[in-house]
Subunit: 581 residues, 2 copies
């Protein structure tokens, strides 16, 4: 095997072209086997194998700097930069992150998992090089899908003004995670159709030099092209066409499905019926709503599949569905204006990516008090990569004036909140979609959520009140059981439902027969929900214990380990209560 | 006077052309007189008078929807939509905000004060119109300077895909607040030079129809153009060239200075020597640093003047200065990469605009632990317009892992923190530049700020400990005096200096001889600094009182009124302490 000989990019430079082609196949096999075994980004990595080999063949990393946008196409790079064990040895499959990570290797410049950052980062790398009078190639590798993000566009506007080496490879596979959206993509299509010759050229209007290669999976042509532009003395866009999923038939044919896959994707024989989830009941609601209300629109920002909006559902929704591409800022402003104009928008977003749009939530949305519904998915402590943590949405969203951020704990609450939010016209509303299995009480929730900040007492007890926010209501129940079993009294259990405000009347009443209030939240403590309860009781004798995640970037730490680290188990919480009871 | 007859846009439609020209002059005079009297946006409003008149002459607002980007060019619009008293009657000068405000008038669609939002908002307005099968013109009016912002670029990418009426007027006055930056502006220049005929056209690459008018201050030509495109059935860019500051010689010649002015700008005979400020000593530091360190770069995002970077200083800094244009996201990523590559960047930003870049602070910067210095200016409670509040930066910045956010209280601390931050290579650092007059102790601060989260005890006392963050240390001192005078004991006064972490050892020690801890912060309480102190003491007998701003959008409420509302006076705080002492 050629791959056996490859331990650093230097080893590539000794290969003949035919060996490079063989190596590409071996790398592809390794990626397919590994990703099928443990899941991960399949199609983006399969498409970029040849580009990566050609880059490392022609340029001299880490002296030359290669910056991978979003870095979900970095597996081939990891394989040729000393980390192939993580791809060919199943025992090492979990050894490396799925993203570039400088702590692993000096060929990785940045820890990256959010899109559209590479060009801006490359600007900083190039400027530092120039200030220090150093010579090296600075190369940003960015997919066509990532180009629609504001940060990428801001970066392009600045990158083109450099008077020095600056190479931006646009990896055009005609796909974002799903299909692309926006006028820019018509121009990319025109450029592909004219072999890069079209006079109307988005990149050239910004001042870039430009070159085009149709055969972006042809190593020889890539090498020839990269050799030509190596050490170029000005900014250039290298527009290459690659095939997403290249080399794996199923992925080539189902690019969207194979963008990121769960383990065993290739072993599945049929789509077994899956049980209902919060995502599936959300889709059901949306499909129903779109049928009955012509002003209803559901919006995503480049990640429709995550919420179950597959191509069939998107087609069914028709004009009631907008994918704005990777453009969270735009999405929020768009929804705000829809709502202000009498339409009923739902914006679907992941907790980690809602971070892109703080100012739009504040200014475009909440300052204008537009009645949109924002569904925040995946919020909670997890074993995720540091780039995709979902624990910061509560401090981010809940400290903005006018926002109503809700935390349902079961199906009936969720649907009641969702429908209330869509139909009301008073408040910007966020709903933190539970990241648990679907829990159903079987009892319709008839709460009027227009009465803000009214907490629900699930069990009226004494001495200790446990406030379990959203998905952590179940932990509250467990702690309550522990207390009842060991101390023979029933504590109070509270389901706050509202994250953005506190029920001062209820909290005041608790003082009558409680000494301790415990708050449990599935997110970072700093700036979150529990601290507001602590503040409320600051001038009283009530003891308050806040539980949640520590302010830190965890990186693939198992959730069980994190729960122990954060004392988020019924036993540890019980111990803490005992110390002050 | 023609202006006397104008109470609604309908009244414009009755005028002859000559009367419109006269009216433009009258409006200009009103703006000049008012802005010279009370300050405000001078040059942008003077440039847009004719456009506004032509828009309201041709279109039928509010049925047709006009959305003003950033809205610092909305004065003429306000004058012709029933609010002229606010411009011609000095007693009413403060009656209306300086920005569009739907609560004032149904010709204003959104409350707007941050840039680059109009196209995205217009997308929502247009989509709602289409879903409801209504007919109307949707018009976004955006300045060339605002085009560089990511949200605007995301918006353009989506706007061009509409199959219905969508008009975007690009008001090209060849200026942002200062000069423009980025490749896009070379294209605008080319378009201006070719009368819009150049084949290379940024807007056309995105799929827009396009038209050009050189004489953007000529009412007749504007009317003719708008009449042509009225009711157009697809998206079009209307590129007009206007003169920023038009009609006021000083503003025409000093566009940057006259962008936003203080009262009395026209009455000044010379630039009197002004006393040193935190801004001026920052500039001194930066100029010195740029001389001695070739890797030093100072960065702004389109608002250099706010921090004192006038054209002379920018020229002096040369390659050590980057204005990225209105592009805060890019600025943070750029700085992160500069720092990771061994350069020493300082990013200067206003508290209100740092909101644009939460995700970049989190992912591009703090996850990568890049040692940049970010100077956050103007943070604190103020009588500002709701669109420019500066009270949210503490929750925004301080809950991000790895970030070190500092709150100096005087000149010596500030300079020590600044120099430490620029020279260290361990942490991403933010410094909240005091928004007070310059306070000097005369004693050099030799603190090693690498030892994180060490609070400074300014006065060791008993019973009550008052923690005064940043500018509010002076309030802490006043409260302490009040206590000493009235209760005859000395409370402890603490200057925390670190916003991003608490000094647990010190807080623990306070338990020995204190019953009450008071926290004072010049920002919103929710998610802020004080709540973390409350959380720390939650399981103890310590009483904690948190003082700061309420979570709300205030709108030109005087600071004195806000201090009373938030109980931020020594008397009110003393009363609260008495209640629980």
């Amino acid at each position: 095997m050629i791959i056996d000989k490859i331990n650093t990019p230097e080893d590539l430079k000794k290969l003949e072209l035919a060996e490079m082609v063989t190596l590409a196949g071996e790398i592809r096999d390794a990626i397919i086997n590994k990703v099928n075994a443990i899941g991960g980004h399949m199609a983006p990595n399969l498409g970029i194998v040849e580009t990566t080999l050609a880059l490392h063949y022609v340029f001299n990393s880490p002296m030359d700097k290669i910056i991978y946008d979003v870095s979900h196409q970095c597996y081939p790079h990891k394989i040729v930069t000393g980390r192939k064990d993580g791809f060919i040895n199943p025992e090492c499959y979990l050894k490396y992150t799925g993203y570039t990570a400088p702590e692993e290797c000096d060929h990785d410049l940045f820890k990256i998992g959010h899109t559209s950052t590479s060009v801006s980062l490359a600007c900083g790398v190039a400027k530092a090089r120039d200030l220090k009078n150093e010579k090296s190639n600075v190369i940003a590798l960015i997919g066509d899908g990532s180009l629609s993000g504001g940060e990428a566009l801001e970066g392009l506007n600045n990158a083109s003004t450099f008077n020095s080496n600056f190479i931006i490879i646009v990896n055009d596979n005609e796909m974002s995670i799903a299909e692309n959206h926006g006028g820019l993509y018509s121009n990319l299509k025109l450029l592909r159709e004219t072999n890069g010759e079209a006079k109307s050229n988005f990149f050239k209007t910004l001042g870039f030099d430009y070159c085009f290669l149709k055969e972006g999976n042809d190593i020889q042509k890539l090498i020839e092209l990269f050799q030509k532009i190596k050490n170029i003395d000005h900014p250039i866009i290298v527009h290459i066409c690659t095939q997403k999923g290249c080399g794996l038939k199923q992925a080539e044919e189902n690019k969207e499905t194979f963008h990121w896959v769960m383990p065993g994707i290739l072993d599945k024989t049929s789509d077994a019926q899956t049980p209902a989830t919060y995502a599936s009941i959300t889709l059901d609601y949306i499909l129903e709503k779109a049928k009955e209300d012509k002003t209803f629109v559901t919006v995503t920002a480049g990640t429709p599949g995550v919420f179950g909006f597959n191509s069939k559902i998107r087609a069914k929704l028709g004009e009631h569905y907008t994918d704005v591409g990777i453009a969270e800022e735009h999405a929020v402003a768009y929804c705000s204006a829809l709502a202000k104009s009498g339409a009923k928008p739902i914006f679907n977003v992941m907790s980690s990516f809602v971070q892109r749009t703080y100012d739009q939530l504040s200014q475009d949305l909440c300052l204008n008090n537009s009645p949109i519904t924002m569904l925040v998915h995946w919020g909670g402590i997890s074993g995720a990569d540091a780039t995709h943590l979902c624990v910061f949405d509560i401090p981010l969203i809940s400290n903005i004036p006018n926002m109503v951020y809700l935390a349902p704990t079961n199906k009936e609450e969720y649907l009641a909140m969702l429908n209330w939010s869509v139909e009301q016209n008073q408040f910007p509303v966020g709903i933190r979609v539970p990241n648990t299995e679907l829990i159903s009480t079987g009892v319709e929730d008839k709460t009027n959520y227009s009465i803000l900040n009214k907490f629900k007492v699930e069990q009226a007890g004494e001495k200790v009140a446990i406030i379990g926010l959203g998905g952590f209501l179940s932990l509250a129940n467990k702690v309550a059981d522990e207390i009842k079993n060991k101390l023979s009294f029933e504590p109070t259990i509270i389901n706050p439902r509202f994250i953005t405000g506190i029920d001062e009347d209820l909290l005041e009443r608790l003082k009558q027969n409680h000494n301790i209030v415990v708050t449990l939240e599935d997110g970072v403590l700093d700036g979150g929900f529990g601290e507001k309860i602590s503040r409320f009781y600051g001038n009283s004798n009530m003891k308050v214990l806040n539980y949640g995640a520590k302010k830190e970037f965890t990186d693939r730490i198992s959730i069980d380990e994190l729960y122990i680290r954060y004392r988020l188990t019924k036993e540890l919480i019980f111990d803490d209560i005992m110390k002050i009871l």
